[in-house]
Structures are given as structure tokens and as C-alpha cells.
């Protein structure tokens, strides 16, 4: 018995920014949902079920906020489902929503993910001291910087690769009206002068804190076929998890990510990802993660990912595998929504709806998200053609 074919038929997101004081959390979420519904030519009356994702509730200080948000989403009387898989949650939420359709249980599902970082203090929430332990922990940057250092050492990558990725993503973001940071003037020289926050991670190599939301409408094949607009057919989804820390763990290129991408390619029938994928939106909160994930995803051999960056392969213009044409997490980071933005941007690319950051002729795109201590992975492949 095969799964029901399904497609993304609507994508919506807010303008991501450091503080959306003009809307409540409910208003923020509704904005993204309304845009996705409009994109699909639907209203909430058409929606069978809502799947909501966000990162830890303590980021805003509202426990299980989907309960309260159900009314603002006009979801009363419908199934509302809440996913939380750490930073990968936006991607996981899209996948769980897709599975609601693939299972044959629902026809039209709205997936929503959000974070309103300005309503709380993420750096505090991510660094709550644990009793009996040494309080050296310093947010996500402090957590990931040692792994970046390990990657640089092991791959012998030149020190400017992180800055190159940062300049690329900040430049790409200028073509994306929804991106948080619009900073057109970065040069490699200026980026190299950017202060070290969590050495070896520079300020410019770090994602911002954003308020933002994203939403997708996912529809079953018969519904999608009847809609006039472009679709992003979901060719494959994959998720994997492993423990945060264990003896001998590869924290630079975790096995869960390798297994997840291997399954993704197998399910999508892709044998040479670098050649067959046209564009990828991958979760890069610190710029060095671009070469690290290129290797983990199988786009490059071990210790060779940085060469794709250096050779311009991942550039939006002229690159054969543009990475994060939207500007990526590095330019907008509403944490819980960031994964869904990757999945949604991948869909927009194959729908031909990516505007000024459209990759010409994109037919096959990848959305990728990871979370926790690089231990939760969620990925999908979407295509312009029905699988």
C-alpha cells in the first residue's frame, strides 16, 4: 500500500525582523497562515487539520501556545497537532503535516511554524544553568563553536571560508523581501574584520534573532491537480535522531544526518545529489555549517565541502548548486520557523515563485533542518514534476 501523493500548494511567510511589536504572537502566526492560504487559493474552511511547530516554549514564555493560538488560526473544531523537535522543528512540522496527507487521513493540511524571539530572551532560555554542572554554556554559538573549530582543523579549510559563506548569504538576502537582514555592502575583507563572538565564529557568521512565522498548505494529489497554480510535489521525506552526546560521537558530521540524507536520496531516486539537485535550502545558523552540511548531505566528500564554497558552486548566480538563495538562517532566524522557511523556500523554487532569488530552471530542490546538538535531522526533496 503506497502513500498518497501530495504537494505543497501554498507557501507563506512574514517579513522577518528583530521585533514585530505591531502584532501579537497570534497575529504573527495568522499573517503567515493567511499568506499560505492565499497562495493556495484557499481559506481556513478548506483546511482539514493544522500542524504547528515551534522551538522551546520558554523562548516566549507561553506553555503549549498552540492551545491558545487555535482560535486565532480559526482552527476551533479541527485537529490541531503540535510538533517540537528542537531546531529541526520547522522541517519536522512540514514532514508531519505531509504525512497527515500521505496517510490518506486528510486532504488539505496547514503547517505553521513560528518564533517571536522579541517576546522573550532566547539567549537566557538556551543557557539555563543545570545544577551541579559548570556554567560555561553560552547559547547556541557557544555550543557549536567547538565543533566548527574541529571541522576547520580536520578539513584544513582556509579560515576565510566562513566569511565567504556569510557574504554570499547576506548578499542573497538582499534579493529576498522577507529576509530579516538586508546588508548589501559586505565584502570578504570586511567580513574577516568582523569581531569574534564565539571564536572561531565571527559576528557576521552568526544568525540574527528574529520574529517570524512560516506556513505551508499541503494537499493530496487529487486536490492539487484541480488547483490552477504551480505545485511543489513532495518526492521524499526523511527524519533521523541520535543522542546529544556519547563516547566517540562524530559531532562535526553526525551519523544521523548521514543516514537521513542517504535515505532521502534513496527514496527520491537520486544517485548523484550534486548533479541532480538544482538548489538547496539548508539550515546554516553559523556560516561554517554550510561546508559541514554539504559533506554530511553527500554533496561533497569528507573534508571537501569547503571547496564547493571556495569554487563558487553554491553561489546564487553562476553556481551549479545554489545554497540558501533566500539568504538562509544566517539572514533570518525565527528559530521554530527557520526549518519550515527552508522547506518552503525549496518549494517556492520549484514552483517558480522565488522572485528575485529564483534559481533559473529549478526543478528539484532540497529543504533541510537540524536541531538539538546536531542530532535531529529533517529533510525533504520537492520537484516541479509529479513523482
Amino acid at each position: 500500500m503506497g502513500a498518497v501523493r501530495c504537494a505543497v500548494v501554498g507557501v507563506g511567510q512574514t517579513h522577518h525582523t528583530s521585533c514585530r511589536a505591531d502584532v501579537s504572537i497570534a497575529g504573527l502566526v495568522r499573517e503567515a497562515a493567511d499568506r499560505a492560504l492565499a497562495d493556495a487559493g484557499m481559506t481556513m474552511d478548506d483546511i482539514d487539520a493544522v500542524v504547528i511547530g515551534k522551538a522551546p516554549d520558554m523562548l516566549e514564555g507561553v506553555m503549549m501556545p498552540e492551545l491558545w493560538l487555535a482560535e486565532a488560526l480559526a482552527a476551533a473544531g479541527k485537529p490541531v497537532f503540535r510538533v517540537h523537535t528542537a531546531g529541526s522543528v520547522g522541517g519536522s512540522t512540514a514532514i508531519v503535516a505531509a504525512q497527515h496527507v500521505m496517510s490518506g487521513v486528510h486532504k488539505r493540511v496547514l503547517a505553521v511554524a513560528f518564533e517571536k524571539q522579541s517576546d522573550g530572551n532566547a539567549m537566557w532560555a538556551l543557557s539555563v544553568p543545570v545544577p551541579f554542572s559548570m556554567p560555561v554554556h553560552a547559547g547556541a554559538g557557544g555550543y557549536f563553536a567547538p565543533h566548527v573549530r574541529a571541522y576547520i582543523r580536520r578539513s584544513e579549510a582556509p579560515g576565510y571560508i566562513g566569511a565567504m559563506v556569510a557574504v554570499k548569504d547576506r548578499t542573497n538576502a538582499c534579493a529576498n523581501p522577507y529576509a530579516h537582514l538586508h546588508e548589501p555592502d559586505w565584502t570578504l575583507e570586511a567580513a574577516m574584520e568582523s569581531p569574534m563572538l564565539w571564536d572561531p565564529i565571527r559576528f557576521v557568521e552568526t544568525c540574527p534573532s528574529s520574529d517570524g512565522a512560516a506556513a505551508l498548505v499541503i494537499a493530496a494529489e487529487d486536490v492539487a491537480d484541480a488547483l490552477p497554480g504551480p505545485k511543489a510535489w513532495i518526492r521524499a521525506t526523511s527524519m533521523r535522531s541520535e543522542p546529544t552526546m556519547f563516547a566517540g560521537r562524530n559531532q562535526v558530521s553526525p551519523q544521523a544526518g548521514k543516514d537521513c540524507s542517504a535515505e532521502l536520496w534513496r527514496k527520491a531516486g537520486i544517485t548523484d545529489p550534486l548533479r541532480e539537485v538544482d538548489v538547496a535550502e539548508i539550515y546554516v545558523p553559523f556560516s561554517w555549517f554550510e561546508p559541514m552540511w554539504l559533506e554530511n548531505l553527500g554533496f561533497a566528500e569528507r573534508n571537501e565541502g569547503w571547496r564547493l564554497v571556495e569554487d563558487g558552486v553554491t553561489d546564487l548566480r553562476g553556481g551549479s548548486l545554489p545554497i540558501n538563495p533566500s539568504g538562509g538562517v544566517l539572514s533570518s532566524n525565527p528559530i521554530g520557523a527557520s526549518g519550515m522557511i527552508r522547506f518552503g523556500e525549496a518549494a517556492m523554487q520549484v514552483m517558480g515563485n522565488a522572485g528575485d532569488h529564483q534559481v533559473d530552471g529549478a526543478r528539484t530542490a532540497v529543504g533541510h533542518a537540524y536541531g538539538g546538538g546536531s542530532q535531529f535531522f529533517a529533510m525533504w526533496v520537492v520537484g516541479a514534476e509529479k513523482p
Partner: protein, 350 residues
């Protein structure tokens, strides 16, 4: 739809423990797997329900992966919901054909904070949560409405408590149990008018784990699987003053979608931490107490392990099918203030 069944389960609950959540999880997960005769490597999909606010730490669920022996890496997901919804996600996953077996679990340590206060932090953060109310007061508001409407009586509520405690005598993880007379219960002072102590749940630290499987796999793992014939969940708008607190429309809708009204129901495990909630949900589901055995486990009233108690209701109902004492049963789960969100799972032995 593929045929999917509950094939095994396991539970723990204590009033308070210094064991970590992981130390609590491992034996229960092992027991559920052993009851199913399943190896860890044979679990296609894992799904977990828990809540950071019960722990006071962001990403608290992350360490639960440690309890799963997740090496090599596993296919796994987490819901910030009661474990009953983890079971729902696993059921969906099996329906896609990507998995044949799943282990789902919910866990909570109620002893680490004033959970009645914490649960009220689910309210609208701008207007209602800052009022500083708690879950008991909210339950009291709902009970008062139902009492004043003449839908239930304080005696009805005490009878729920007396029956639950009596049934709990046979439940090894019940936290309160015993023979008590309804009149004695009604003679007690009110804790939060109209609620007396017997109307309020015994809070626990613990875990519920459930194994579900598809088709022949389920038949190979249990001699009498509890086949999930229908499962559905619905939500109401949260605002306490803006919805039908007595009719519980989301429970009515979920029951309708599951076709509950059709045949006889032998057993209904209703997730009702407060006595009046059992009565209101029973009405909403159309359960006839004359022909349906309600909460033979004693229910959440005698053992309320947050984020596990809803999954436990599905498991307890399924266990009556697995052991051959019932044929058609309902497991119900709820979450959100005053029965806001409701899940109904209808299971049959054949």
C-alpha cells in the same frame, strides 16, 4: 487504511522520586518492548510526548533520546503534547506505509513544581495567564457551571471518586485507592468551592509506553491485538468565557468522527483528572454508564502522570481487549484548560 493495533503497554507512577526522567523511562520502555516480544532494533518509529514547562528546562525532551539506545540513529519524533498524540502521529506514520511498528511514550514528573500552577501557563499570555490562576480554580469554574446548570451533582462527582478509588485497588501504579463511602466524601470540606479533595487528581511521576503495529506484524506480537478502528482529535477555542464548557464540543466532534454512537462500548477509559470532567466527557461521548464500564483502571484521578495520563487511557482500554475481557473499547485523552482538546480512539478485539 491499514489495520493498526495496540499490542503491548507498560506503566509506572510514584508520588515523587529523585530518579531522572531517563532513569524512569528505561525500565518502562523495556517492559513495553518485552511485553510485545519486540527488540529495540525492530521498532520502525519512535514517538514521544512531553512538555518543557513540566521540567523547567528548554529542550527537556532531547535527553529522552538517551533512553532509547538510539545508536545507530533512529527514526523518531516528539510532540509537545500528551503521549496520546504521539500515538496518533505513530498511527499516521504507519498509515503512510513507512513503518510497521512503533513505540510511543509519554512521561512527566509532577513532583518537581506546583503543577496546578504550571498548567495554567497554557492560558492566553496577554490577558488570562497574568491573572495567576491555577488549574484547580479553572476546573472549579467548569464544575460550578455544570452544577448550576443541573447537568451534574456533587454526589455524582463523589461517586466518580469512590468508584475510581475502589477500582484503583487492582491497579499497582495507582497513587490513591480504597473503599470509601460517597457520604463520607461529601462530608469533607471544600478545597476550592465546589471542589473537594476527592475531586482533584493524585499527581504522579512516571511513564506510559505503548507498542503499536500493523496487520500481520500486530498478529504476530499479540494473540488478541486491540485494533484501532477509529481515531480522531479536535480542539475548541481556548478562551474560558468563550466556549461551551459543559457540552465539550471538541469531544463531541471527535466521537462523531469515530462513530462512537454506533455499537455497544464495553469499556471507556476517560482522561479526566477532575471528577466532573469524567461526567462531562461521558456525556459528550454518549457513553451510557449502565452498559459501559468507565475507567476500570481508576483513571487519571488516582494516578495523574502529566503528559502520560492520556496515553495511559488508550493503553488501559486496549489492555482490556488484549486480556480478552472486552471487545469494543474507547480510550480518550484531553489536554488544555478545561477539556479544550480531545482525542478519541476506538479499539476492537476482532
Amino acid at each position: 487504511m491499514r489495520d493498526v493495533a495496540v499490542v503491548a503497554s507498560a506503566h509506572s507512577a510514584v508520588s515523587a522520586t529523585t530518579d531522572t526522567p531517563i532513569e524512569l523511562l528505561i525500565p518502562v520502555i523495556n517492559e513495553a518492548l518485552a511485553n510485545a516480544g519486540l527488540e529495540r532494533r525492530e521498532v520502525d518509529f519512535w514517538c514521544h510526548g512531553s512538555c518543557d514547562y513540566l521540567v523547567g528546562q528548554p529542550f527537556s525532551f532531547v535527553s529522552a533520546v538517551d533512553a532509547l539506545g538510539a545508536w545507530p540513529p533512529i527514526v523518531e519524533s516528539h510532540v509537545e503534547m500528551d503521549g496520546a498524540w504521539a500515538l496518533y502521529e505513530a498511527w499516521i506514520k504507519i498509515q503512510t506505509g513507512e513503518a510497521d511498528t512503533a513505540l510511543v511514550f509519554g512521561n512527566g514528573k509532577s513532583s518537581v513544581a506546583d503543577m496546578f500552577r504550571v498548567m495554567a501557563l497554557q492560558l492566553d499570555p496577554y490577558v488570562e495567564a497574568p491573572l495567576g490562576t491555577d488549574q484547580i480554580a479553572l476546573a472549579g469554574l467548569q464544575a460550578r457551571m455544570a452544577l448550576d446548570a443541573g447537568v451534574i451533582t456533587e454526589r455524582d462527582m463523589a461517586e466518580v471518586a469512590a468508584r475510581s478509588r475502589r477500582d484503583a485497588l487492582a491497579n499497582p501504579v495507582a497513587l490513591v485507592s480504597g473503599e470509601v463511602s460517597v457520604d463520607d466524601l461529601l462530608a469533607a470540606d471544600k478545597v476550592r468551592d465546589p471542589l473537594r479533595a476527592h475531586d482533584i487528581p493524585a499527581m504522579g511521576d512516571g511513564v506510559t509506553a505503548v507498542v503499536i503495529a500493523a496487520g500481520d506484524r500486530a498478529r504476530s506480537l499479540a494473540s488478541r491485538p486491540a485494533w484501532i478502528r477509529a481515531i480522531d482529535h479536535r480542539i475548541d477555542a481556548q478562551r474560558i468565557g468563550g466556549r461551551d464548557l459543559i457540552g465539550v464540543p471538541s469531544a463531541v466532534a471527535a466521537a462523531e468522527r469515530c462513530g462512537v454512537g454506533g455499537d455497544r462500548i464495553d469499556v471507556a477509559e476517560i482522561h479526566a483528572p477532575f471528577t466532573h470532567e469524567e461526567l462531562l466527557v461521558g456525556r459528550a461521548l454518549g457513553i451510557d454508564a449502565a452498559t459501559t464500564r468507565i475507567n476500570p483502571s481508576g483513571g487519571a484521578l488516582v494516578s495523574n502522570v502529566l503528559m502520560a495520563a492520556g496515553l495511559a487511557r488508550i493503553a488501559r482500554a486496549a489492555e482490556t481487549v488484549l486480556d480478552g475481557t472486552a471487545d469494543r473499547v474507547i480510550g480518550h485523552a484531553t489536554q488544555g484548560p478545561c477539556l479544550q482538546q480531545n482525542l478519541v480512539c476506538v479499539m476492537e478485539g476482532a
